[in-house]
Amino acid sequence: MSTRTGAAQRPNGSTQGKICQFKLVLLGESAVGKSSLVLRFVKGQFHEYQESTIGAAFLTQTVCLDDTTVKFEIWDTAGQERYHSLAPMYYRGAQAAIVVYDITNQDTFGRAKTWVKELQRQASPTIVIALAGNKQDLANKRMVEYEEAQTYADENGLLFIETSAKTAMNVNDIFLAIVDELDENVEVPGPNSNKLSKFSLLNKTVGVLSKALFAKIVFPISINRKDSIISCDPSL
């Protein structure tokens, strides 16, 4: 929705590709492989003993697709239930979320569903949610059936894919699938009318968010981001 488009406009008015910037957040039970997915996507690495994430970690990755340069700003959150209260600070204002579970552990799938519900209720209404069944390399120990997750994803309008951070299977794909989905959201005909709705939507989001913990502190960040997004938009 609030994809930043700009910077590439030349003086003569012709555009040479666009630059999009997405804020993306990873959520899910601890030890399902959130940090590993990010590490695989951003650095192409995999650490067997990836240490646990406390609070959250921030990483970025820039990908070039045809005529578009996409910059991901990725917030990788702590999985432990107790850190839950911090989560809104990270998914607030995010354009996309990857909710991760571990296919060898049914409980983590349940937790993923809770996250999806929370995002649908609390996050930006236009957020793109992808469900990732991670640790596909351990498919022989599978406890969550592919069909079960696929059905759930379909019912809730989520992107769904099984991944393996260890073997790199589908890792890039899930991020790129999100870009596609976001692109569709963005490219709406009728620029002027659309901008207005975008603006009002933003305000609405802000209202919901200020109730959450840390709202006071983080609030300016989202404002700031949106300011910059709006001001960067060449057609505004």
């Binding site: 240490e51 406390i54 970690a57 921030f58 409980d107």
Partner: protein
Amino acid sequence: MTIGLLNHPEMHFGAITFFAKQHKEDMCGSNGLPLTPNSIIIYGRAQMLKAIKSPYLCQYLDIIRGKHERTIVVSQYCGTPLSNIVENQDQSIDEIKHIVYQILQGLNELHTRNIVHRNLSTENILCQDNNVKLFNYGLYHLTDNGKLVSFPIIQLLYAAPEIYLDGIQHNHTNPKVDIWAVGMILAELVLHKRFWSTLKLGHRIRKVLSLLQSNTSVFERIAREHNCYEDYMKVPEDIKEIIEICLNINVDQRPTCGELLQKGVFNQQKTDKISEKKSLCEPFEIFTIHEFYHWWQLAGGDIFQELKKQGLIRSSPPILSLPQLVLIEGGLLGQDRNPATLFDPRIVEMPLASLYQRFENIPFTAFYPLIQIKSDIISRLEPPPYDATGLPLIIKERDPEYQFHRVILLRRLLHGYPFTRELIVREAEKDIPPLLRGEIWAALLHVKGDYKSHYMKIDKYSITPTDRQIEVDIPRCHQYNELLSSTDGHQKLKRILKAWVCKNSNYVYWQGLDSLTAPFLYLNFNDEAKAFACLSAFIPKYLHKFFLKDNSAVIEEYLAKFSQLIAFHDPVLANHLYEINFYPQLFAIPWFLTLFSHVFPLYKILHLWDKVLLGNSSYSLHIGLSVLTQLRDRLLNAGFNECILLFSDLPEVDIEKSVYLSTDTFKTTPTSITAREHENCEFQERDKYDISGVTLEDLKRERYPRISANDIVSLVRSNPEKMCMVDIRNMTQYNRCSVIGSINIPFSSVSFSDNNIENIGQHSQLLKETNNKVVVVIGDEETDMELFPTFLLKCNVKKVCVLHGGFNILLSVTPTILVSHSHNI
């Protein structure tokens, strides 16, 4: 003279080496993680052996891992193997009894710890002046009953028949197998004969098994086979009886070590009080063999090199180890077994000459340092034994002489703990010798008393809802470290965490507690209870309430204080971070929640915590500041994204620099600057002149810290030149009564429209160049207490703070620090 003390007959050690069994390629455990390498499991299992101290056992000193699962075991090695003197006809019966008695004592020590030797032979019993020590007794234990190595652990001649009958792979954890071996050894000794020494392997086994069919006495049969029936007849009855009951084919009828030691045959030995043979015994022990080994290493000793020199470690060209055929599935065929994977019984004694040489000039008195010098005259005459001041810590830690003096001194002080605690603190302020760090930390944390039974009583096994979290966190916690990644390490960490959760029902397990526990476990690997006691003492002092179920108020307060501390010391950086909305919430939670133990590798944490333990709970704020200071230039030139990226992947931080910087700011910052509502009042007493009652909202809004009246009073009295007090009340009030040395800048006279220090007027020069003075803003309820200090901060004035409670709080201070100017006008 000096060498005399070091050159003690017991201060000798040697090493053996073997390969642990290698896992097949790409093997994963049930959690998807790779299997722990066997050499790491061995490494963990062997640690407890290092803690066994007995005059009848060679002490284990070190386990070293090499390439390809190589394991090196270093242990005390003194004397000659018993096998050398078996055939010595001069051995009297009394001497033999004396030897066997000591063997049994050693075995008893092991059996009470549930360790089965399983490897006993005359080769690994060492004699030195009638003193006997068992050697290499832990091999079966540390290889998990032989499961972790690909060679059998067996002494053909001395192995009990049930070992052969059940097969080598069978786990024999019944200590009775060792009793059979004792019987054989005793029989050899009294007959002065090495049994079946000329036979080939297969024949020997057949001979041992043939004993099973023996209808008469096993001992008699062996004697007849060796044509020693006459000698056999000469053996005293009580000895014969001992041999007979030891060589009982029926396992259950064999006696235990304890039963054997009670036998009348050893009455003489019992009264001889052999147990007093320890010449260096606690608590008067000047140094232990562990320390001796440590110095040897510092003085250039290298186990690896010595083994290489002796040909025990040989590298062969990799091409020779290539298989002839590799299947697509990964199977290997046609690979010769590397003979090195078999057991190599050779022992390499380590040369000590270089250590003796290095320590040649150490005077004898250095072994008995004065620990407390009350007379100034003596203390001035007494030069420091070895001056290393000014050397970097890393050099000091590797300097053999310096470590010698430090260890000798601190070992002495530790013997006197808890009475010597103050002296330990004073020494710890200089530096902490790595070898004694675990004990010194415990002393700094006031760990004392019966912490062991306390720990034992805690339930560490019942299933709790936290288990899943603990279980997924442990295999990710400092796994680069051999101890913490070993199976024993995982189990210990789990027990400690569960014990902590069970013991602290008001708190909960937050991710990060695992990292916080890791340094304590690492330092006290053989004393789980002490690790737990340290953790239990550490948290209330440094992380009070951080592990509450709802800790957000505590953490937010801490983070707000962190922001204020940055503003206090580095307004330029603080203003920059403020402008780009870069808040500590986004990066510093793991810093403070785990006191950096989740952020840095262990070796850095150790040095950092050496200082933390000498400070209070505010110290980690200063560490945080020191990290920012090190990254200052990069942060100042970076926007939000670059900043946050910098901290997601924290670049190399020079820990010694951090320690230096944080100690410096810690010492120069008035304590109330970092005072917090949620501090543990047990460690921080407060009175009406201290800061209290500040709400979290106020705290988060105020970008500069408050200072307490107590701090003002003591600063005005002790260091008035370090103070710049700005009284912002109106001139009338100021003239009527004000703090000695304060200046008056009436609040209403300043325009805050832009951040220009000149707006202040005549005193602007003074505030432009404060020369690191603490700038205290003093107002009262009629003045706005926020605009002015915020203005100063925005103008990049350093060390700005506001007097908590305003001017009026100073009115009741006695003796007063106030003066009146009115009569001057």
